[in-house]
């Protein structure tokens, strides 16, 4: 039996995962200048790690391993060292006048942000198309 909206669970999972990624990127950008985080150290860049999960319900295609579901495995810290800048006037500066700033490159974050929002938009377009197709299917037999 072929169901309308059969592939939608995977699209929704992808939307969810991309949304998490967008949240993490915005957190990174917001904290690009946080030299004194909650643990007293400069903010460390966070990265989203994606993983595939096998879909529970097997769709019309039959083979679940062909169509894995995207999900967020964990949010990890980027272990690159903090960026040292010379700012002797800063209260956070050490005896040599160096301040440890977060290991965030705003340009890198912006590129990631664009990637994530494009992927989000693409999945949203799938949802829209899928909906209009389901509506057409439901109107079979009406004029």
């Amino acid at each position: 039996m072929i169901q309308p909206l059969s592939g939608i669970q995977n699209t929704v999972a992808a939307l969810d995962a991309e949304r998490t990624r967008l949240d993490v990127i915005s957190e990174n950008i917001a904290n690009a200048n946080t030299t004194h985080g909650l643990d007293g150290k400069p903010y460390q860049r966070k990265v989203v790690v994606f993983e595939s999960a096998l879909q529970q319900a097997i769709g019309a295609g039959g083979n679940a391993s062909l169509t894995p579901q995207l999900r967020v495995a964990r949010i990890d810290k980027d272990n690159r060292p903090p960026v040292q800048i010379y700012a002797p006037g800063n209260p956070e500066a050490d005896e040599r006048g160096m301040v440890s700033t977060p290991n965030i490159n705003v340009h890198e974050e912006m590129a990631d942000l664009i990637n994530a929002s494009r992927a989000f938009e693409a999945n949203l377009a799938v949802v829209k198309n899928e909906k209009s197709m389901a509506m057409q299917t439901l109107s079979i037999g009406k004029h």
Partner: protein
Amino acid sequence: MIEGLFNQPSYLAAKKTLDAVAVRQEAIANNIANLETPGYKRVDLSPTFRHELDRACSSGDAQQIAALKPTLAQDTTAVANSRDGNSVNLESEMMQLNQNTMAHTLETQMVSSMLMRLKMAITGKSA
């Protein structure tokens, strides 16, 4: 006896094509969902379906058409376009998504118009 009304090969073929379009939509949705999954290989409607449908249609045997089942299969012709081995190309998927939506419109209208003609024949009234 009523089954006889819905057993013309052309009606069955239109229905099967509609099923195939739905499976293809699932394939494209999955490809877009796994746009960033490392090592993911794009899936599509099984390429043998087209030949099977062709063969069944030219035989004109309603049973043979009704027994067809469109399935998903890995697209072995797609090449990985990045270092992580993922073979999904967003632009081509979006294009195929729109093509598939149009194909779906066509097929639903085909099935619909066949049913309408049947209704017209039964009632003797148009629309």
